[in-house]
């Protein structure tokens, strides 16, 4: 695998290979010295042009546990906030000859741009605009697989702000690719067009989306991306779409996922978020292992020791 730009276009065999490798990296986390030398001597640049704590920490930890040299190039502390154009940043980075660039951006399409501008590096998309967040989808699928033993044939309900959600888009693509049925529910103003083309079945209410579900994915209300009034109020939203114990009860044993950070009492009640079906903290733990598997899979495709020094 040269890059991980999106789930769209990712061969299903490649996705499965990553999910199959990830448990080994969970084992690494349990070692007294949680480190393995798969990326020894490699440089991994974390180019984050949007505030992010968990994804950045997760990639940073993944890179460190693979013995790589992670280099943070975050927006708040870099020239990115001093008016340097993105292409100048990319060229500066290219001159540092990184092996892998992990990128997070407000705009969609940046991963492809970087892959084009820096042909010597591999690019991993850590979330671009409202487009995709492939490693989040992989870690969600991995978490579901660990609880249910498989993904094929399961029913997954995705609830909330689908319109602004790259997590939704990547998950819909990956879960359907792996053979799950994906249903969704949310405010009509936050439903994107073309759900059927994604293979997702829209349902008129949360209750209907949840019926018979094996896993429920709750999406965050993204206030920072909402420039219009998509929802009347947080309280109203919770009343109508929030995941509560009452709504969850008829689903038997569905697990509950959330990509974080949580808006408690907006999209999810505290009782559910902290309850026995919540796998939210496992997602965090699995995220590091899945990102290790992604970085290792990419490094495997990059011959080294022959780096040009001229």
């Amino acid at each position: 695998m040269r890059h991980l730009l999106r789930i769209r276009g990712l061969p299903v065999g490649q996705a499965r290979a990553i999910l199959d490798e990830a448990p080994r990296y969970l084992d690494v986390a349990d070692q007294p010295v949680p480190r393995t030398p798969a990326l020894l001597g490699r440089t991994v640049v974390l180019l984050f042009r949007e505030p992010s704590t968990r994804t950045r920490s997760s990639f940073q930890l993944a890179a460190k546990r693979l013995s790589a040299e992670p280099l943070a190039f975050a927006s708040a502390s870099s020239s990115l906030s001093k008016g340097e154009t993105f292409l100048d940043t990319a060229r500066t980075l290219a001159a540092m000859a990184p092996d892998i660039i992990v990128t997070r951006s407000r705009e969609s399409g940046i991963p492809e741009l970087l892959a084009r501008e820096i042909p010597t590096a591999s690019v991993v998309n850590a979330g671009d605009g409202i487009s995709e967040h492939p490693t989040q989808a992989l870690l969600d699928a991995f978490t579901i697989r660990r609880h249910r033993g498989r993904v094929r044939g399961l029913t997954v309900a995705i609830i909330g702000d689908l319109l602004h959600s790259r997590v939704f888009r990547s998950n819909a693509l990956l879960l359907t690719m792996l053979g799950a049925r994906v249903r969704c529910a949310g405010p009509p103003t936050l439903m994107p067009p073309g759900l059927e083309r994604l293979g997702v079945e829209p349902r008129p209410s949360v209750e209907e989306a949840l019926r018979g579900a094996d896993a429920v994915m709750v999406l965050r209300i993204q206030h920072e991306r909402m420039h219009d009034s998509f929802i009347p109020s947080r309280r109203e939203y919770f009343h109508e779409f929030g995941l509560t114990e009452e709504r969850l009860r008829p689903t038997r044993d569905a697990i509950v996922l959330h990509p974080g950070p949580l808006n408690r009492a907006v999209e999810i009640s505290s009782a559910v978020a902290d309850g026995p079906r919540s796998v939210i903290l496992e997602q965090v733990r699995n995220g590091v292992a899945v990102r290790m598997a992604v970085l290792a899979e990419i490094a495997r495709g990059r011959p080294r020791g022959r780096r040009r020094r001229d």
Binding site: R24, Q31, G41
Partner: protein, 187 residues
């Protein structure tokens, strides 16, 4: 490309199955006498794993009840992965606490010592054993690192370009030690 081991004209069997079996017996006898409890055998994948199992069975027959067994994959720790490409993580299984134990690394052939160096690095990520010893079925010489075995089943004098291959029933369908001429096997 490596030639198929059996078809190659440069191959000769230097120890038969019976000699290999006797060598494993000798190893077990000396280990039983010289390594105090609690002991753990750690086979280096791949052929060190079935060898460690054979030695462990013999140790148990000799009345040792303290022997734990595990396996170690050292592929990611090799110092030549820069040239060979990165392998996938293999299975490492250390189902015991190392801190109290004496660890006996078990491998089939000792040559340059680089595999053992890699095994020691890998081991250090899993804990701090009380002591580490090295048992090999065959020592063929040609060390490139300051590493010496504690227990040796068979000693072979091999020229630098020659390769010594151990074949085991569990992995290869037969027991034996083979000498391969330089050029007959590119590895």
């Amino acid at each position: 490309m490596p030639a198929p081991a059996r078809a190659s004209p440069g191959i000769g069997r230097i120890f038969a199955a019976s000699e290999l079996g006797a060598a494993v017996d000798r190893l077990a006898r000396r280990i039983a006498a010289e390594v105090p409890a609690p002991l753990a055998l750690l086979g280096i994948r791949r052929r060190g794993v079935p060898l460690a199992l054979r030695v462990a069975r013999q140790l148990e027959e000799r009345g040792r009840k303290d022997v734990a067994l595990g396996e170690l994959d050292i592929n990611l720790y090799r110092d030549d992965i820069h040239d060979r490409g990165i392998p996938r993580v293999g299975k490492t299984s250390i189902p015991f606490a190392m801190e109290r134990r004496r660890i006996l690394l078990v491998d089939d052939v000792l040559f340059t010592g680089r595999t053992v160096r890699a095994a020691l690095t890998a081991l250090s990520h899993f804990g701090r054993p009380r002591a580490v010893r090295l048992a090999v079925l065959v020592d063929r010489g040609g060390r490139e690192l300051p590493i010496a075995p504690d227990f040796v089943g068979l000693t072979v004098e091999a020229r630098p370009g020659e390769f010594i291959r151990v074949r085991l029933e569990e992995e290869d369908g037969e027991d034996g030690v083979f000498r391969i001429d330089a050029g007959a096997d590119g590895r």
